[in-house]
Symmetry: C2
């Protein structure tokens, strides 16, 4: 019996590593005033078909019911934006703008497997809804950067490649392109660095454009008028060093409209850590024009991030310190005399009620073995219940210091 | 566009209420030295068919792939025990016994809807593996009680109905029943309070038993030899007041073997909040006899618990205080002069870096309106960046006290 291919078991050590990432994401989101939301894991297929492009439809898992096959047109969520769009457009008047919302959902994609590609994974999503100015783009990219800095990652470890769909749009229109051909053009640009120039030339011929013209624009490092205030907003925060202007970034999905960006690690692996941008028209599209709000957001997966943390020694050390702290037991209650088990249980209860993390032996064991267990669990102190009753011995495990304390004063002795 | 029936959106307020429950569950688990694990949302159908009984198979959601229909025999997990059994039996030697494991997964069941019945819900699962003695039963029921006490619920609000499959087993065997008929007998007992006595008499005829005999035993309040040490362990912890001996509890699932229990609220609603018991043979069954470890556990869902918290004023007040604290912004940075926006951004970044929850206006707004937003967000203090630069005004919003602070001393002034 195993998991299905591409799915993960989280044994306690794995679960703690996953929780480290989810906990840090939540911490940073709160610092930025983002509020958490979530949606169902199962959504209707129609929700994803409605979104323009439908890029992910072919990678989706369908959901039926054993009792009533065919009764349900459900799928497992492969991304969050359609759910967010549904939720926001249904109740947009209830929320003050700009809305800063985040979530940490699991997603499901029926992809071929490989390093960093799983069929179920977690992804942080941060979105700002209702703010058209570049101040929102700067705030969003700032939180994206701080989401990675929170793991001990620095300018040496990753960069945000900042680009603009608007810039490419203007380039295309000024070259005589028509708006209805834009998305096809963006797809060609997206592949221009990977395809041989001849292939790109061929694809661009109908637009009277050349691979050279596209590649020249792609390699210019000058921020467009749209990007200047975004960069200024990040510079003012001291985060400018994380930004590379890079017009090679156009993003695959159809719905992006303005500033777009991707985050890559700076090692030779160049792994993509996150990506996002503006999608000012999507809410209107999803609500048949009823709600027309500008919006922007990004997604950051847990798998590639965890791999990068493994590779960066300072980040790995910070994580390991967190894990150690997280797992540690505060106090181990040693039952030195079985006749005192009842008193020991009362003490355990009292300390747990006070919020301490407390463990003890469920059955009779030698005192030496109990101390071994205490060390194994990472306890900082042991309280020994035995012959000295109604006094107990409090032992600091690191220093082996011992003091004798009347049971009535135990909470004071433990510094509560 | 709506959710599918039985599935929930979690708007920020709903999400915070959900997180309140998940957070408290995790807190209490840590106090008891339980460690968190998790498994995939999608599991193989075979995993659930293997478990004896297969009670949930008819309620399961199946999972397929749009790209490759029929390639996958997956289902959405309806419960955790089979996943836990798979994980433990695969690596049992890696873990010191007793293992105290918990998780807070979402489950999926294709049930008819109703109050407290959803198709996706969360459920705390706590299990102890590898400890056959009643000390483990007492520890498990203690954490179950404290999981509810953590929400401000008391003896007046809920009770643990404690029973024993072993007691019914002995009753049945002493009355001349055969072991292979046990499960059928338990099913009759399970329904004996709901069915009319004539119906129960009819069902019991083949076992030479009467409804009266079963109901008499059911209503006896004397703990059996098996239950006595469990009750003692709970009394020693001061938790005896939460326990009612109640042999009407037999639990529906086939795999329980010893102590079983359910938690009900004490109002006239008598809602079931949690249930569990010993399943000493299941790991052996799931591993074809390779791993034979005693085990016990319980599950507690989020939906009924949330309803009960709503109904108990002290519990609702505690939750509301938590929600208020959780949502609050620490500091609102007021941009009183647009020329100082850059300096304000640097300040925002500095405070967020220090771990404060900070918000500010993304675009120009009147100072009075900015203070309104600060109040709305629950900020405790505002820092005003304007004419006084390089000094800033720090205002305590509750008292309206203001002090002028040089920007270089802002962190000290904010008490960090």
């Amino acid at each position: 019996m195993q998991t299905l291919p591409g799915f993960r078991d989280f044994y306690p050590d794995d679960c703690a590593r996953r929780n480290y990432i989810l906990t840090k994401w939540r911490e940073v989101a709160r610092r930025y005033g983002f509020v958490e939301y979530d949606g169902p894991v199962v959504e209707s297929m129609a929700l994803y078909e409605k979104k323009s492009g439908g890029e992910l439809v072919g990678q989706m898992f369908t959901v039926g019911a054993t009792a009533d096959p065919g009764s349900l047109k459900g799928v497992l969520r492969p991304e969050m934006t359609p759910t967010l769009a549904r939720m926001v457009t249904a109740r947009e008047r209830d929320f003050k703008k700009p809305m800063k919302w985040f979530c940490v959902p699991n997603f499901f994609r029926h992809e071929r497997q490989g390093r960093g590609r799983l069929r179920e994974f977690y992804q942080l999503n941060c979105d700002i809804v209702g703010e058209p100015t570049p101040a929102a783009d700067a705030e969003l990219i700032a939180i994206l950067i701080d989401m990675l800095r929170a793991f001990g990652l620095t300018e040496a470890d990753f960069a945000v490649r900042l680009s603009s769909r608007t810039a490419w749009q203007q380039f295309f229109i000024q070259s005589g392109g028509k708006p209805e051909d834009e998305y096809e053009f963006f797809q060609i640009v997206d592949k221009a660095e990977r395809n041989p120039p001849e292939k790109t030339d061929e694809l661009l011929r109908k637009f009277n454009l050349t691979a050279q013209a596209v590649l020249d624009f792609m390699r210019s490092k000058t921020p467009t008028a749209e990007l200047v205030p975004v960069v200024e907003g990040l510079n003012a925060r001291g985060l400018g060093g994380f930004i590379d202007i890079d017009y090679a970034i156009v993003r695959g999905l159809a719905y992006y409209t303005g500033v777009v960006f991707e985050v890559f690690d700076r090692s030779k692996n160049e792994r993509a850590l996150a990506g996002g941008g503006r999608y000012d028209k999507l809410l209107s599209l999803m609500s048949d024009g009823k709600v027309d709000l500008p919006a922007l957001g990004f997604g950051m997966g847990d798998v590639v991030l965890a791999n990068l943390i493994d590779d960066v020694p300072a980040a790995a050390a910070q994580r390991d310190a967190w894990l150690k702290q997280e797992r540690a037991c505060d106090i181990y209650v040693v039952v030195a005399k079985e006749e005192r088990r009842s008193d020991a249980l009362a003490l355990v209860q009292q300390l747990r009620d006070a919020g301490q993390r407390v463990d003890f032996p469920l059955t009779a064991a030698k005192v030496g073995k109990q101390f071994q267990t205490a060390e194994l669990l990472g306890a900082t102190r042991a309280v020994l219940v035995g012959d000295e009753w109604p006094q107990v011995k409090v032992k600091t495990l690191a220093t082996r210091e011992e003091i004798l304390v009347p049971i009535g004063e135990i909470k004071t002795a433990l510094g509560q």
